[in-house]
């Protein structure tokens, strides 16, 4: 057996776990999911093909679907830009040669490390209408705060506010990007008589646009998949004000056992994320890429 062929076979051996996983947990389920999405399926009886009925129901006949779509879209358009901007501003401050950088970075990043149910429980208290810390603080300045999670008009806003706790996750990436900007660019800018604003506008900002782009994309994809907070804190309520898309999908599948409908919902989610991704890429003219250096692998 030639070396070449041997290496070829060996490579597939290295990839065997992934190939198996790809077929069993991705290709198979994708095909099945597509099939289920065209069927009535409650697990107990075999799937019954119904054509595009599930998709028709969704858009023509299911106000809750449209509501969950709207809620998740509002969340995405409010939360992602806020997190990206605030995280970037904090990173800019930390990049100003402040003292105790490591300590600051720890403080800002810490909330991004914890998540899930424990944090959700914490938010329930922080925004408790009576003895919660937010309303207690507002009382100190004479304002009677809203009922936050328990007021249908405020619940979604409150969830958006809690998402800001995670600005540190993006901030660390921005900061790393800012610190990777070659100093000779700043020196060149200074020679041209550029001040603080020009250094930011013509060096820092363009050089960090790829990092902003990365965080924007990850943020959008993540926000369409919000589940834990909506489930634990508000359970979709009050009055379905926080019925996030994935929570709606989960209920259709695991509460009402409409696996066909839930599969169709999952495919719509996939297309939404795909469209957002394409739009973000298509409008990425503002992202500045330094002419790529030679591939390190060669």
């Amino acid at each position: 057996m030639s070396m070449r062929l041997r290496e070829e076979l060996e490579a597939y051996l290295f990839l065997l776990p992934w190939i198996l996983g790809f077929l069993i947990f991705l290709v198979g389920p994708l095909a099945a999911s597509l099939y289920f999405s065209l069927a009535d399926y409650n697990i107990l009886q075999p799937p019954k093909l119904v054509g595009l009925a599930n998709y028709q129901t969704m858009f023509a006949d299911d106000p809750l679907f449209l509501k969950s779509l709207r809620i998740t879209a509002i969340y995405t358009f409010a939360s992602v830009p806020l997190i990206v901007t605030l995280g970037y501003l904090v990173a800019l401050l930390l990049n100003q040669k402040v003292r105790g950088l490591a300590v600051w970075r720890t403080i800002f990043y810490l909330p991004a490390v914890v998540s899930g149910v424990a944090v959700a429980v914490m938010w329930v208290w922080v925004f408790d209408p009576d003895g919660g810390i937010v309303n207690n603080l507002l009382r100190l300045v004479g304002i009677e705060g809203p009922a936050w999670f328990t007021d249908p008009d405020w619940a979604l806003t409150t969830l958006i506010l809690t998402s800001l706790w995670g600005i540190g996750g993006g901030m660390v990436v921005y900061l790393a990007g800012m610190q990777g900007v070659p100093t000779h660019l700043y020196e060149a800018c200074e020679l041209d008589g550029g001040g603080t604003w020009n250094r930011f506008r013509h060096v820092t900002l363009p050089m960090t646009t790829p990092v902003i782009f990365f965080n924007l994309l990850i943020g959008i994809i993540g926000s369409w998949q919000v589940f834990t907070n909506a489930f634990v804190i508000t359970n979709g309520g009050p009055a379905n004000a926080t019925l996030f898309y994935v929570l709606f999908l989960y209920r259709q599948g695991w509460k009402y056992h409409k696996m066909g409908y839930a599969s169709a919902l999952a495919w719509v989610l996939f297309f939404i994320i795909l469209i957002f991704t394409i739009v973000v890429f298509k409008t990425s003219g503002w992202v500045y890429y330094e002419s790529d250096q030679a591939d390190q692998s060669k």
Binding site: E7, E10, Y12, F14, L15, P17, W18, G21, F22, I24, G28, P29, L30, A32, S33, I43, V90, L93, V98, R105, T106, I107, F108, Y109, L110, P111, V113, V114, S115, G116, V117, A118, M122, W123, W125, D128, G131, R139, G168, V173, A176, P210, V211, F214, N215, Q225, F227, T228, F231, V232, V246, G253, M259, A262, S263, A266, I273, T277, Q296, S297
Partner: protein, 280 residues
């Protein structure tokens, strides 16, 4: 100049305090009496430090069982993911085979597919296999290279290992597996640590998969155990006495390993976001 710097510190301190207050409050509340937790205005020093909240919470909440379950799942997933993704990453970084580029594109394209699209058929598959209410659905997929992001991350790192080391080992008659195990892996400890940490946090805090696959209380992970504890305690609003303090204790204890991990391995956290976010 001094003025602007003072302003910077003022902003940083304000934002930092806002981020830290919920944490601090949890710590304080965990040793408070129930009536103090919702006192108006908020008090920051408990009347008396009630350590007994901790023992009481651990009596009423199945902490150690859930902790063991969570640890078992997390560690199994980490081991499986490290093995399967690093093998795949090595093939993409260092081996020559005809389908290398198309297969790598395939790996990257799987990043686009949300977990939820495959969730239902996978759930039905595990139902048929009789794996519901076992840890297998949470563990097995991760032994089969699920986690394209980590393959990508490790490949990027492996590519930075100088290839002369590869060639030298080749000349010495080392097989690819030998190079992988003896040259690449030892040189990639930082990247492997990053994968470990990210996977730990992801598994520790996961909610959707455990709530779908684990039914009986003795199988619960910490995340769903807390949720059930909450529900059982809140008959009418927040019913029984000291429930909130107990909930704070349990939540804090659940967060603690993540915080500890962060303090001890901060370097790898930062490095991980840099590899994935800046160079990616």
């Amino acid at each position: 100049m001094v003025m602007t710097h003072t302003l910077y510190y003022l902003i940083l301190a304000t934002v930092g305090t806002m981020l830290m207050v919920p944490f601090l409050w949890m710590v304080v509340s965990s040793v408070k009496a129930e009536h103090e937790i919702f006192s108006i205005p908020t008090t920051w020093i408990p009347e008396r430090i009630r350590w007994e909240n901790y023992t009481h919470a651990l009596e009423s909440f199945p902490f150690f069982r859930s902790l063991l379950n969570t640890l078992f799942i997390t560690v199994s997933v980490i081991v499986g993911r490290l093995l399967s993704t690093s093998l795949a990453a090595y093939a993409f970084a260092r081996m020559r085979f005809r389908l290398r580029t198309p297969m790598f594109v395939l790996v990257l394209s799987t990043l686009m597919i949300p977990y939820h699209v495959t969730l239902i058929p996978t759930y039905i598959l595990f139902t048929r296999l009789g794996w519901i209410d076992t840890f297998l659905p949470l563990i097995v997929p991760n032994w089969l290279g699920l986690g394209a992001f980590y393959i990508f991350l490790l490949r990027q790192f492996f590519m930075t290992v100088p290839s002369e080391m590869n060639d030298a080992a080749r000349i010495d008659g080392c097989s690819h597996f030998g190079i992988f195990a003896r040259v690449i892996l030892p040189l990639s400890i930082p990247a492997l640590a990053t994968v470990t940490i990210f996977t730990f946090l992801e598994q520790w805090n996961d909610f959707l998969a455990p709530i779908i696959y684990l039914n009986s209380p003795d199988k619960h992970t910490l995340a769903i155990a807390i949720q059930f504890y909450r529900q059982s305690a809140s008959g009418a609003g927040w019913g029984p006495v000291r429930t909130w303090a107990h909930l704070m204790v349990v939540s804090l204890l659940t967060m603690a390993p993540c915080l500890l991990l962060f303090f001890f391995a901060q370097r790898y956290f930062i490095q991980g976001v840099v590899i994935s976010g800046v160079k990616g």
